[in-house]
């Protein structure tokens, strides 16, 4: 049985400015929010601009804000997002420049990830001494940017390195057995780096890959706090 859903989609075109368009969609509740957007594009408005690829939460390209919360619409079921006769307010990710309609420019995010120099291929299991249940592999990050969209600090500091890149830094240090390379250190140990976080934990709330960026930032802070204390008392090495 199909549900009747109202999609309110935020639109933007450089020549036309911003507006919200409303579409009525008949769709089964077991289908996804992205399915509905594709139906709108196929049957009602071919000019709707949105981004997607894999449809199963591994490419990280379709991230949106739906009813005020960041989601991957490719795995968000209609029935988990609203009720029969309900409304879905769909907006592009926050804190990114909007290129058109639902598509944002991810370049500022990818530049930050590059700065950390996280290798694409890395260890896949817990490191020696790590409990399997404590282990949140940064390698699972799909670079979707949901964490940057949800973070209230990214919203107010455009230079903030942001959750994913800081979590990547902690992983890089962890994998190299605690050694801090000068480049990573310079990128994270400053007022737009790990000290900027205000522990709102919103990144971990929305992360679809269970990377727990906030937990990793706190681990990085602990590491850096002890590192500074060590340097303060004059320890070498």
């Amino acid at each position: 049985m199909s549900w009747q859903i109202t999609y309110k989609i935020k639109r933007y075109h450089p020549d036309q400015g911003s507006r919200v368009d409303t579409f009525q969609v008949e769709i089964e509740p077991e289908r996804t929010v992205l399915d509905g957007i594709e139906l709108i594009w196929a049957k009602q408005d071919r000019t709707l601009v949105f981004r997607h690829a894999c449809h199963h939460a591994s490419c990280g390209s379709c991230g949106l804000v739906v009813n005020g919360v960041e989601v991957l619409p490719c795995i968000k079921l209609i029935q988990d997002a609203t009720t029969d006769g309900g409304t879905l307010e769909v907006e592009p990710l926050r804190n990114f420049p909007v290129v058109a309609d639902l598509v944002v420019d991810m370049a500022p995010f990818f530049e930050r990830m590059q700065l950390i120099g996280m290798p694409i291929v890395g260890p896949t299991g817990p490191l020696p001494g790590q409990e399997p249940d404590e282990y949140t592999a940064f390698e699972n990050c799909i670079e979707c940017g949901l964490c940057l969209s949800a973070c209230p600090v990214v919203a107010t500091d455009s230079k903030y390195l942001g959750p994913a890149a800081l979590a990547a830094a902690e992983r890089v240090i962890e994998v190299s057995e605690g050694r801090l390379s000068d480049e990573v250190l310079a990128a994270v140990d400053n007022e737009h780096g790990l000290w900027r976080c205000h522990a709102a934990f919103e990144c971990s709330e929305v992360c679809p890959s269970n990377v727990d960026p906030a937990g990793r930032i706190m681990a990085l802070r602990r590491r850096m706090t002890f590192e500074r204390l060590r340097r303060l008392v004059g320890a070498k090495g």
Binding site: N67, R94, V98, A107, P152, T156, F201, M218
Partner: protein, 143 residues
């Protein structure tokens, strides 16, 4: 909550294309709606912190009445004992308890301790703050 002060900007990635940017960076942190306990903690902590800074200046201004002799001060003390003022004292206590206790929570978490317990810790902070507030209010109004 989306910003109403969006503006257009030349894109750095797509030359010749105008991108839409979010608005003012000053107020966009105040968006706890539909967010988790962590964000509520952050927002309330910031509001209380700013409130305490405001109070500090008010407090100094009021203390400066002392330089104007006994009469001005006595008049202020009479005013300070009025129920409306006592209610403001309760608001101040809420700010101190909320900010101070949550500050301890943030300091703990920020040192990498009890990170996974940040939600229960927030609830504990809220419960202790409310109990302290009720005790304080009873004390203010019975004194």
């Amino acid at each position: 909550m989306s910003s109403t002060e969006e503006y257009l900007e030349e894109s750095k990635t797509y030359p010749g294309h105008k991108v839409r940017r979010p608005g003012s960076q000053v107020s966009r942190w105040f968006a706890p709606w539909k967010r988790g306990l962590g964000t509520w903690g952050f927002v309330l902590n910031r509001v209380a912190g700013l409130g305490l800074v405001l109070y500090l200046f008010l407090h100094l201004a009021v203390l400066s009445l002392l330089t104007r002799g006994q009469e001005g001060w006595d008049a202020f003390i009479t005013l300070a004992k009025s129920p409306l003022f006592l209610l403001l004292d309760v608001v101040l206590l809420a700010g101190i308890l909320g900010h101070g206790l949550n500050g301890l929570r943030v300091a703990l978490i920020g040192t990498g301790l009890l990170v996974r317990w940040h939600r229960p810790l927030f609830i504990a902070v809220a419960v202790i703050a409310v109990l302290g507030l009720v005790a304080g209010a009873l004390l203010f109004f019975s004194a």
